[in-house]
Symmetry: C2
Subunit: 270 residues, 2 copies
């Protein structure tokens, strides 16, 4: 079961997007995003950007307004606007890692850390989350430490792995990607919407644990450290059904799905 304390529900007019935060890789950012959620910082904000084959991004449309403007930036309360970057973390024995047999040019080793696509470099003693489809990232400006979680993006295109180690990833979408990937593309630079009415409103973001059990989406992610998952990986490396004529003998990290399924609500004790 997804940990309700690290699961977000992003509510759009079209439905619910379920996000799993990754405190293992970005503890400060995950905590800050939860603080922003609990302050209802995101409620009523909007998707500001939809760039084809790249990312959708949401935040405060008035983030860059000056204090004297009518539409001044939304206050962040006790949460932080910026945090020290969490681009990589040290490798430790507490960090799970199931290595993919294949490699790619973006990292010495790639694989799976709990519910996430990840990569690492043992020589540098660094591990990081990989920019696969659905990855949740923390927008920032030029300075590495200029992001904090008030602007978040989700990858909707071919894995932009060159962003790995350059920006903090804080989680991933585990259900509802099809609601984000179809947001009309913005026509401004970087896919920003040019007119306010084009923005896609966010009804609310909530932490699953803060909702009554009846309002939660109960999901289970296949464990990536199991024989079942290893068999799935192998079936993706070499397709052996009748349709495939030439098995690839390889699979790129982001082409391995990490299966998620709906499960009955957990029994509540009496």
């Amino acid at each position: 079961m997804l940990d309700p304390q690290n699961t977000l529900y992003l509510e759009l007019a079209t439905g619910r997007v379920v996000i799993e935060l990754a405190p293992l890789f970005a503890p400060k950012h995950a905590a800050n995003i939860k603080a922003l959620v609990r302050e209802k910082y995101f409620d009523g904000l909007a998707f500001l950007r939809s760039q084809d084959n790249y990312v959708v991004q949401w935040g405060d449309p008035h983030a860059d307004a000056r204090a004297e403007d009518k539409d001044h930036p939304r206050s962040v309360g006790n949460a932080q606007r910026t945090l020290k970057a969490e681009f990589t973390i040290p490798i430790s024995k507490d960090l799970p890692f199931t290595r993919l047999p294949d490699v790619d040019g973006y990292a010495p080793e790639v694989g799976f850390s709990a519910d996430f696509w990840s990569a690492r470099d043992t020589k540098k003693n660094e591990a990081w989350l990989a920019h696969c489809y659905g990855a949740l990232g923390v927008g920032r400006d030029l300075d590495a430490d200029s992001g904090g979680g008030t602007e978040l993006y989700v990858v909707i295109g071919n894995a932009p792995r060159h962003l790995d180690r350059n920006i903090t990833l804080a989680g991933r979408v585990v259900q509802g990607m099809e609601l984000l990937s179809v947001l009309p593309r913005g026509t401004g630079p970087l896919g920003f919407y040019e007119k306010p009415e084009q923005r896609v409103p966010i009804k609310s973001i909530r932490i699953a644990a803060d909702l009554p059990a009846a309002e939660r989406t109960n999901l289970e992610v296949l464990r990536t450290d199991t024989p079942t998952f290893a068999a799935l990986v192998e079936s993706r490396r070499n397709r052996h059904d009748d349709w495939f004529k030439v098995p690839a003998g390889y699979v790129e990290l982001c082409n391995v799905p990490i299966p998620v399924r709906a499960v009955p609500a957990p029994a509540t004790g009496k």
Copy 2:
């Protein structure tokens, strides 16, 4: 300039999608698709499938109907329903290829052949088009030779390179991907639409050369065998602007854009 004889305009209610056919790699399929277009085979058909992070696909909703049904399959006239597969072609000196300095696990060599992402295996003397974002493929059934162009798909997600050499690619979308990538996802198996009214109608498909000059979209693709393109590739392998902190030193084939731009209509001689 795109060759108007190998350029298709797929017209949707939302606008025009420009497709470049690849007769270098799939001569029979490109010719057959053009024959289908000239018979107006596709006019009034529809997108039947939109699978998140994978493909959109169009064709005849009644392709599987039996002859006695009211909605029988549309006739193909003088075009072919099926063709011998063109999964790979022999390497020849007439086939341009600018190799990418980087490799991946899906092919011994990857790079660019004229306007297309491609791959090859010199030991097997085979070259093929790569399933990058925007690739145009020819749907088929189990048999390798069961496709012909009446059902076509476009890649809208993370490059499904495991499809390379398993299905005929016949071209790519060079403009208008943002109209295809936002098609609402189908909720049936493989992303097929479950209700007829969910299908997205195709107004028409035309060959650019068959339209008056004034109705054409004039596009120019950056030549991939030029120093300008080599510099672009290098800039993608190692980002050196102020935003990037860790250059990747690598770029995955499908993360290299092949730039396209609008150009003035060519002068018409008198």
